[in-house]
């Protein structure tokens, strides 16, 4: 019992260790104090920023853009992934294109999207949804293609029509893989949104905050924004994991 309680505290050791290292670096002046403020300065900046300061506003801007991007990506990629997955020949014919652009860093496409959509929110959202959509598409299509043959046969032998097999079996079968795609997609969308916010024409968002703090040499603010971005990424992942667990309870069982 005691050791179990102790085991639960294990993740805290890494956090304490990191803070300790940070303090040692700060006190011994191994790193220039201008570049590395004390942990408390950074956390005070984080606290102030997130309790009603600018940082909170930037945080929400990034959240909104990321959710908008994942929404656009889902609306496009999920139906398309189902259609492609259900027609294996069709999928094979576009597989290379999907894989190629899935492997292309979406940030490399940002200038192109700037030219097409101009400076503004739409560009950031679209470029992020482009990257996320390919990840979701790929996962949905594979989820549909890898639906268990036996389940499809079981439904057919009970008299299910093609449409019923699709809706009641194949779609449900593809859900766990779809959620894997959504989780990877949202992580990617956040990365792209934050990068996009650092570009010219941005006025808010966590990327903008980090970039601006760095330009102004306001290091506590910069670290605060980095931690806020980290917390956002971690939180989004947990959130999607929880949705996944309650939605596709049978996943992996």
């Amino acid at each position: 019992m005691r050791s179990e309680q102790f085991d639960k505290l294990l993740p805290g050791i890494g956090v304490l260790g990191l803070i300790l290292l940070w303090y040692i670096g700060y006190w011994t002046r191994i790193v220039d104090p201008v570049l590395l403020p004390s942990p408390d300065a950074a956390f005070i900046a984080l606290w102030k920023g997130m309790s009603g300061g600018r940082l909170l506003h930037d945080f929400f801007q990034t959240v909104i853009r990321t959710f908008a991007a994942i929404a656009v990506a889902s609306v496009v990629a999920i139906p398309l992934g189902i259609v492609l997955g259900a027609n294996e020949k069709l999928y094979r014919s576009v597989e290379f294109v999907v894989d190629f652009f899935r492997s292309t860093p979406a940030s490399a496409l940002f200038p192109l999207f700037l030219v097409i959509f101009g400076v503004g929110d739409a560009t950031k959202i679209y470029v992020a949804s482009f990257g996320a959509a390919l990840v979701i598409l790929f996962n949905v299509a594979y989820g549909v293609m890898n639906a268990r043959k036996t389940r499809i046969l079981a439904a057919r032998v009970m008299g299910a029509s093609r449409w019923q097999v699709m809706k009641d079996v194949i779609l449900m079968e593809s859900l766990p893989q779809t959620f894997v795609g959504l989780r990877n997609g949202v992580s990617l969308a956040l990365v792209i949104v934050v990068v996009a916010e650092m570009f010219i024409g941005s006025v808010d968002g966590l990327g903008h905050r980090v970039f601006e703090a760095q330009q102004l040499f306001n290091m506590p603010d910069m670290y605060a924004a980095i931690f806020a971005a980290g917390a956002l990424g971690y939180g989004l992942n947990i959130m999607f994991l929880l949705i996944e667990k309650s939605f596709v309870h049978w996943s992996g069982k």
């Binding site: 079981a154 032998v157 049978w250 069982k253």
Partner: protein, 274 residues
Amino acid sequence: MTMNAIAPVIGPYRTAFGPDGNPPAHITARGLCKEFQGEVIYDNFNLDIPRGKFVSIFGPNGCGKSTLINMISGLVPVGKGDILFGGKTLADTRIGYVFQNYREALFPWMSAFENIHYALKLRNVADAEARERVKALVARLGVKLDLSRYPYELSGGQQQLVSIMRALIVEPEVLFLDEPFSALDYEMTLFMRDQLQRIFEETGTTTVLVSHDLEEAVYLADYVLLLSRRPGRIADFPMVPLPRPRNDETLSRPDFVDLKRHCLEIFQREVRRP
């Protein structure tokens, strides 16, 4: 009709399509041909499966036992030939099918109850009536199972029991089972055999079981269909004249042992054929 019963045996194979005793046929297969990856599995195969009886199919590995019931139940297309169920086509016949791999045959997003209920939903049975019918089946079979659980929360035997109930709920004219107990441990297998026997006695549904276990095949069956090596022929189709319900004592009865030995001889003759 009587011609079949005394049909002469030409070579090692029977020319009669049905089993010994010539009971009235329920399923008739005529002129079945099937090739798979260039191999001839069936070439002009004929078979009569009697109505309201339990038929076990046994034969050498890869002889096409599963292929046969999959063709009859429409899971794989027939190369050539006709299969009729009391003169009706498959489309006009209610069948139940139990897969070997219950883990992949049940729907894990549905509770055990919903899995069984779904078979009725596909037959457009109104929800209230469907629920009543599931409850009635559970009561009739005397199943002690928490049906609100998901399949992955149940043991292997319980999952297969749910599969069997899903197949039975539509009151099928024919029940097919493809090695239904081969993924279960021995204790569970013995238990499930008796469950299946009880279900058969209870419903009297024409039942076709593919088995890789000769003892099980003989123990459960009214007739044992022994298949030859590819291309598939009826090597023998003996009656199992043992009283029901059968139990552990059945296994040591001299007539059971003799019949099992006879089936084993035929099986080994088939396995050793060049």
